[in-house]
Symmetry: C2
Subunit: 769 residues, 2 copies
C-alpha cells in the first residue's frame, strides 16, 4: 500500500476565513489493500483505487467521516478503473463520498450494485455517490431481481452518475423506507443521466422506485431533480413514487416509454419538468396520478401521444376502500401552469375505470371511485392543428374544477366548462422543443395556496409577471429546455451507435462461417447465389445482416439434421436481418432459437423476402428470453411442424417473450400446429403488453395437427392489428380469439374453409397482487 | 343595539413597548342585532351577547380579524347567557374568538353545535373557542348523527371548554381534513374538560375523532394536550386518531371506558399522558396501536384491568394489504419510558388476531399480519402482588424487540426475552394515583432517535437524569398527576350528584300519583301496605325509588287494562328502583316500556324482591331506546305473554338496547314466549357489546308458545355469564345458544325436561364496513 500525504488549504471565501485540513490519500491496488485502508480510515482520508480492472470485488466502504472531513473513495484515473465480474459496493457510516467508479461487464452477486447500507445495523447517512457509471451491469437472466442502486438511511445523495442498460427484473434505483432509520430521508437524486433502459416485456422495469405500498405511509422527502431520463423504456412507470412528500423538479423525460407515476403515497410536488415525445410513439407518457394532495406545476409537455395510462396527464379512478397495494382515490390534486404543445388530448380523467369488467375482476380490483376535489388551472394547450378533444373521460367528470385554462382549439369534449377557454394565440420557437406564446396570457386564476407557486419553469417570479402555462415571458433569446452537459459524469460520454457498416461478400460455406465470426456489429454479409450446406448452429450475438446479392438468385442455406440446436441461435443483444435468402432444413431442427438460459438482454430478428421450409419450429424461444422485435415480411414459410413460439413465459406474472411481432405480406402453408403462439399471462398493466401486426398474409393448409384448435394464438397480448389476411383450408376451430376490451377486431380478412375469428370481450386473468 | 366604546392599553412586557388598541364592544340582545353586528364587525371589535336565554338561534359568526386585533364573540355575564333549543354556531373567517357560550337544553338542528366553517367557501382559520360549555345538548334520538364540535380549516383552537353528555350517534368532536384547506391544521385542543359521555350501546360514540379512513393519509398535526377525559364511556375509542402527525400529550384519561386509539394514520406522538382505571372495571383501556411510526413515551398507567382491545397497551395484528378502512399492520412503533402500576398484564400483542375465524369472515377481515419492528424499551412495571404475565400474546411475537424493561415480578409469559428484567424495586406514593420508585433505575437503553425523548412526564431533563419509566427522580414533594382546575372554563363547575334523598310516604293512589309528580331526582317513595289501583301509565323521567315500608307486607300496585301503554313508561334519564312491591296487571298491558321515540339518553331499571304477574311483556322497548342497566333480583315473575324484550335494534349496525342486564336469584314461570330476547347485530368491535349476568334463577313452564324455539335469546351479546340456574319443564328446543368465541359457557345449571344449552363457536354476522 502506498501512502500519499497531502496538505492543502481550503479557503472558505464567503465567510472569509481559512482552515487547514490534513488530507491523507491512500492508493489501494486490490481488495485486501482496500479493506485494510477502509478499516483504518479516518475523517478527511481519501482511498484511491488504482487504475485497472477490479474483478469480482464486493466492496464494503464503512467509516465515519464528518461534515467537514468526509471519508472518500475515488479512483486513480476516471474511466480507467473499472469494476467488473460479480461485484458490488456497500456503504455504511456517516459522511462518505464515492467518486468516479465505473461498473461494467458484470453484474452484482447480491441484490444491488451500490447500496447505502451494509446490513440493518450498518446504514449510510449523509453519504454521496457521484460521477459514477453503471453500464449494462445486468443479470444474465431477466427474471433474477436486483436493484443497481439501493438507498437506505437518510440524507444520502446520488449525483452526476450515468446509469443505463438494465434488462433484468427490478427497478434500476430503489429507495427503501422500511424502519425509522430510513424515513424523512431528504435523499438527493440529482443531475444524473439515466440512459436507455430497454423494454423488459414484463413488470418491475421501473427506473426509479421510491418506497413500496407497504411503506407508502412514510414521509420520504426524496428530491429527484435535474435528471435526464433518456429512453427509459423498461415499463409503464419510469418513476414510481410510493411514499409521501417527494419532489420531482426540473427533470427531463426524453422519449421514454412510460410516465412519472404517483403510484402510492401523497403530497408529491412535480414542478418544472420536461416531457418530450415524438410523432411515432403512443407509448411515451407524462404524469399519472393516484392518491391525494399532489401539486403538478410548471411542467412542459411536448408531442406526447399516449392515452389512458400513458396520457400526458392521467388522473386515475380509484378503488373504493382500496387495498393497501392497489388504487386509492385521487383527491385534492392541483395541476396548474402546465404547458402542452402538440399533445392532442392532454387530460385523461378516470383512467383505469373498469366497472364494466366486474365479471372478470373481483370487487377489490374495480376502479369506480372518481377523482374528487381536483383543480386544473392556468394551463396552456397549444396544437398546430385544430384539436378539439383536450379531455378524454373514462367516467363522469364531476370532481374536477377547471379555472382559466386556455387552448387554441375549440373544446368539443363531453366535458364543457367555462374554465376551458378557447383563445387564438400565437407561439414562437425558442430552441429545440421549446415553444412559447408570443405574449403572456395574463388572466391568471389564484386558488388556495397558489402563492406557493412562486416561479415559472425557468425561475421567473410569478408574483411579478402573470402568465398562463409553464413559461412566463420574457425568456432569454437562446433559452434551452435542457442542457445535456448537466447530466451524468463529466468524464464519460454515452456511446452513440453511428458506426458505418462494412459489407463482406462470401461464396463458400467456410467463408460464410469465418466471416460470421469476425464481423463487427452492424456489418453485412452478402452471400453469392448457390447452396451453402451448414451442419453447425450459428450463434447471433451482434447486429448482423445476411442477404443474397442484389438482383441475383437467392442463395440457399441448407441446414443438416442436428442435435436439436437451431439453425440460428439468438444470443443476448443479437440482431439478425435476413434478406433474400432461402433457408432449408430437414424437419427435426428449429430454424431460429434462443439460448436456453442467460438471455440477459433482448434480441431482434427480421426476415424479409425469404423462403423458409422444412424445419420443426420457425422460432422456438426459451422461457426468460425476450425479443424486442420479430418481423417476417414478404416471405414464404412452409412445411413446418409449428410456426412462431413466443409462449414460454407461463408464470402468469405479466412477463412475455416479445414486444413487437410483425407478420406482413407473407405466405404460410403446411404448418401442422399453430402458426403463432404469442402469450402474456397475469393481470398486469405495467407494460406495453405485446404488439402483433398481422396484415396481408395468406395462411393455407395449416393447423392440421389433431390438438390444434386455434391457428394464431394471442392470449393476453394487448395490441393486435389483424387485417387483410386470407385463410384457406385451415382445419381449426378458431383462426384467432381476439380481446375485445383492448379494441381488437379483425378487419377485411377473407376466410375459406377455415375456423372463425372470435372476439372475447373480457379476459379472465390470474391476479398477481 | 347599544354601543360601548372602550379604550385600553396593552402592555407587552417582554418586548417592553406599549400599544394603544381601540376596542369596540357591541352588546346584542337578539339574533337580528347579532347578525347586524357580525356583518359590520371590524378587527378589534367584541360582540357581546346579552344575558338571558337565546332560544333556537343558528349563529353565523363570520369576519376577518387580525392576529393583533381579532374579532370576539363573548357574553355579558358568564353562565347567564345560555343557548337553548335548536341552536348552533358556525364560524368563518380569520382570527375570531368565541368566549363563554353555554349550550344546554336543546340540540343542533344541523350536523354540529359549533363548527369552524360556514360552508366550503367560508372556513375559519386562526380562530378560537374558549371557556364554553356544551352540556347534554344531545339529539332526541340516538340514531340521529351529529358532532358537537367540527374542526375545519387551519390553526383553530378549542380550549378550556366543558363538554359532556352526548348520547347520540357521532363523535363529540371531529376534525375534518377533506380538502387542501383543511390539512396541516396545527389545531389546538387543550385544557378542555371532556365530561361524562354515557355508554352508547353502539358504534360512533367517540369523544374525539381526528380525520377518517378516507383522509387518513393527510398530515393533520392536531395537538391534543392537557385535557381531561372524565368517564368518557361512549365506545371502545375515546380518541380515534385517523390521520398523520397528531400529538397527544399530558392528557388525563380518568375511568374512561375505552382507549386512545391510533386507528388510521401514522406517526402519532403519545407523550406524558395519564390513564387511570380502578379495581372494578375491565372496560377502562389505555392505548391501542395500529399502523406505523408512533412514539409512545412517558405515559403513566394506573390500575388498568382491560384486555384485548382495552389493554393498557394493545398492539394489534393487521390485515395483509388491508383495505383503506380496516387494519394496517403495525410497524416501526416505539413504546419507551412508560410506567405501569398495578396493571397486571400491560402489554398485549397481536390483538385482534382472528385467523381462526376465517370460516365466518372474508379474507379482507382476517388480521394475520403481526407487528414488525416494534421496540419496547425502558418501561417500568410495578404490581403490588406478584403478577407473572406482563405479556399476553394472541399470535407469535416475533416482530417486537425488548430492551431494558423492568418489572418487579418474574416474567412467566410465553415471550421470554432478556429485555424484560425482573428486579425487586420499591415504590412510594407521592399523591393520588402517583407512585414512583424510591430511587431511579438508571440502566437506560438508547435506541435510534431516543435523543428526541428529552423530558420525563413532569418535564425533568432525561439527558441529565437517567431513569426507566415515566418519572425521573427527584419529583416535588407534593407533585400531583393532574390538577382539576386546569380543565374546562373557570366560571363553570360540573354538577356533582351528591344530593340527599328525601323519603315520601304514601298510602293512597292519589297520594302516590301526586308524589310521583313532585319528587326530585334521587327521592324515595315509600308505599304503605295495601292495594293501589292504577289506571294511568306512570312516566319515569328522573331517578326514583318505589318501595314498600320496611318489615311490612308488600304493597300491591294493581294496574288496570289500558290502551297498550305500559304500567311504567321509562323516559330519557329515568331510573326506577322498585323494591318489595307486588305488581299486577290484567294481561294485555306491558309492565315496563319506553317512549316510542326521542329516547335521547339512557334509562335504568332495578327490580328487587318484588312479584310481577299478569302482564303482556315484562319489558318492551322501542328501537332507539337504550338502558344502561336492567336488573331483576330476588323476584318472582309469572303469568306473562313474554319476558324482557331488548331486541329492537335490528339494523345490524352494532347498536343494541341495553348495556348491562342482570337477572339473578329470581323465579320465572308461565312466560309463554321468550323469557329474554337480548340482541346485538352487525360485526362491530366498538362497544362493550352487551352484558348478561344470569345466575341463580329458576325457569319453569315457560316457552310454551308454538313459535318459541329458544327460551333465552342472546344473539350477538358479547359478555354472558350463565350459571347456577334451574330449568324445569320448558318446552323449547334450546334454552340458549351461547357464543363460544367470546368465552361463553354454561356452568352448574340443572336442566329437567327443557331444551339444551348450545354453544356456537363463531357467529356469522353482517359486515358493516
Amino acid at each position: 500500500m502506498k501512502y500519499f500525504l497531502l496538505l492543502f488549504t481550503l479557503l472558505s471565501s464567503s465567510l472569509n476565513f481559512s482552515q487547514e485540513v490534513s488530507r491523507k490519500e491512500i492508493l489501494v491496488q486490490n481488495i485486501t489493500e482496500f479493506n485494510s485502508a477502509v478499516s483504518s480510515a479516518k475523517p478527511g482520508e481519501n482511498i484511491i483505487m488504482a487504475s485497472g480492472v477490479w474483478k469480482d470485488v464486493e466492496l464494503i466502504f464503512k467509516g465515519n467521516g464528518t461534515k467537514d472531513q468526509p471519508i472518500s473513495l475515488s479512483v486513480e484515473e476516471k474511466g480507467k478503473v473499472t469494476i467488473e465480474g460479480k461485484s458490488s459496493l456497500k456503504l455504511a457510516g456517516e459522511y462518505l463520498i464515492v467518486d468516479g467508479l465505473y461498473f461494467k461487464n458484470g453484474f452484482t452477486p447480491s441484490n444491488s450494485v451500490i447500496q447505502f447500507k451494509v446490513d440493518n445495523d450498518n446504514i449510510a447517512n449523509h453519504s454521496r455517490v457521484t460521477n459514477c457509471v453503471i453500464e449494462n451491469f445486468t443479470q444474465p437472466s431477466r427474471d433474477v431481481q436486483d436493484h443497481w442502486i439501493e438507498f437506505w438511511g437518510r440524507n444520502n445523495q446520488l449525483d452526476h452518475c450515468y446509469i443505463a442498460g438494465k434488462s433484468n427484473s427490478g427497478p434500476t434505483l430503489r429507495v427503501f423506507l422500511k424502519g425509522n432509520e430510513n424515513i424523512n430521508t431528504h435523499h438527493q437524486i440529482i443531475n444524473n443521466y439515466f440512459g436507455p433502459r430497454p423494454r423488459k416485456g414484463g413488470p418491475h422495469g421501473e427506473t426509479l422506485q421510491i418506497g413500496s405500498s407497504e411503506t407508502s405511509m412514510t414521509p420520504a422527502y426524496v428530491n429527484v431533480a435535474e435528471n435526464l431520463f433518456y429512453r427509459c423504456n423498461g415499463e409503464v412507470e419510469i418513476i414510481s413514487s410510493k411514499s409521501n412528500f417527494n419532489q420531482f423538479s426540473h427533470n427531463v423525460f426524453f422519449e421514454s416509454e412510460g410516465s412519472l407515476v404517483l403510484r402510492h403515497g401523497n403530497y408529491a410536488t412535480i414542478d418544472g419538468n420536461v416531457f418530450i415525445g415524438n410523432d411515432n410513439s403512443e407509448f411515451i407518457g407524462g404524469i399519472r396520478v393516484i392518491n391525494t394532495g399532489h401539486w403538478i406545476t410548471n411542467n412542459y409537455f411536448y408531442k406526447l401521444k399516449g392515452s389512458e395510462f400513458r396520457s400526458p396527464l392521467a388522473v386515475m379512478n380509484g378503488i373504493p376502500k382500496s387495498p393497501l397495494n392497489r388504487y386509492n382515490q385521487v383527491t385534492d390534486v392541483v395541476a396548474a401552469f402546465n404547458t402542452y404543445v402538440n399533445c392532442i388530448s392532454p387530460w385523461h380523467f378516470s383512467v383505469g375505470s373498469n366497472v364494466d369488467k366486474s365479471e372478470v375482476l373481483p370487487a377489490t380490483e374495480i376502479r369506480s371511485a372518481r377523482p374528487e376535489r381536483v383543480l386544473l388551472a392556468n394551463n396552456l394547450i397549444y396544437n398546430d392543428k385544430e384539436q378539439n378533444f383536450p379531455i378524454v373521460a373514462y367516467d363522469t367528470v364531476d370532481g374536477v374544477r377547471f379555472k382559466n385554462n386556455i387552448s387554441n382549439s375549440i373544446n368539443k369534449s363531453e366535458v364543457q366548462d367555462k374554465g376551458i377557454i378557447t383563445k387564438d394565440f400565437k407561439i414562437k420557437k425558442i430552441s429545440d422543443y421549446l415553444y412559447v406564446p408570443v405574449e403572456n396570457l395574463t388572466e391568471v386564476y389564484s386558488g388556495f395556496d397558489f402563492e406557493k407557486i412562486q416561479e415559472d419553469i425557468f425561475g421567473t417570479n410569478r408574483t411579478e409577471i402573470k402568465s398562463i402555462g409553464a413559461v412566463s415571458l420574457p425568456v432569454e433569446k437562446d433559452q434551452r429546455l435542457f442542457e445535456l452537459s448537466e447530466y451524468g459524469p463529466d468524464w464519460y460520454t454515452p456511446v452513440k451507435e453511428s458506426k458505418k457498416s462494412k459489407i463482406f461478400k462470401v461464396s463458400t460455406t467456410d467463408e460464410l462461417l469465418e466471416v460470421l465470426q469476425k464481423t463487427a456489429s452492424e456489418d453485412i454479409i452478402e452471400v453469392k447465389s448457390g447452396t451453402y450446406k451448414l451442419e453447425v448452429s450459428i450463434p447471433i450475438n451482434k447486429k448482423i445482416s445476411i442477404r443474397s446479392e442484389k438482383g441475383k438468385k437467392k442463395a440457399i442455406l441448407q441446414f443438416s439434421e442436428s442435435n436439436s440446436s437451431p439453425a440460428f441461435e439468438m444470443n443476448p443483444e443479437g440482431a439478425l436481418k435476413m434478406e433474400n435468402i432461402i433457408l432449408k432444413g430437414t424437419k427435426n431442427r428449429d430454424a431460429f432459437g434462443t439460448l436456453k438460459e442467460n438471455m440477459s438482454s433482448a434480441y431482434n430478428l427480421w426476415i424479409d423476402n425469404s423462403e423458409i421450409s422444412g424445419f420443426k419450429n420457425l422460432l422456438k424461444v426459451s422461457q426468460r428470453s425476450f425479443a424486442d422485435t420479430i418481423s417476417i415480411a414478404n416471405s414464404t414459410i412452409k412445411d413446418l411442424q409449428s410456426g412462431i413460439n413466443l409462449a414460454e413465459e407461463t408464470d402468469d406474472k405479466g412477463e412475455y417473450n416479445a414486444e413487437f411481432v410483425y407478420i406482413t405480406n407473407s405466405n404460410f402453408s403446411n404448418i401442422k400446429e399453430e402458426v403463432l403462439n404469442y402469450y402474456r399471462g397475469g393481470y398486469d398493466e405495467s407494460t406495453i403488453g405485446g404488439n402483433l401486426i398481422l396484415t396481408g398474409n395468406t395462411f393455407k393448409n395449416s393447423g392440421t395437427s389433431e390438438n390444434t384448435e386455434i391457428l394464431l394464438k394471442t392470449r393476453g397480448i394487448v395490441n393486435v392489428v389483424f387485417s387483410d389476411n386470407s385463410f384457406i383450408d385451415n382445419s381449426v376451430k378458431y383462426i384467432a380469439i381476439l380481446w375485445g376490451e383492448k379494441g381488437q377486431k379483425p378487419e377485411n380478412n377473407s376466410i375459406k374453409n377455415s375456423g372463425e375469428i372470435k372476439i372475447e370481450e373480457n379476459l379472465k386473468q390470474k391476479l398477481m397482487y
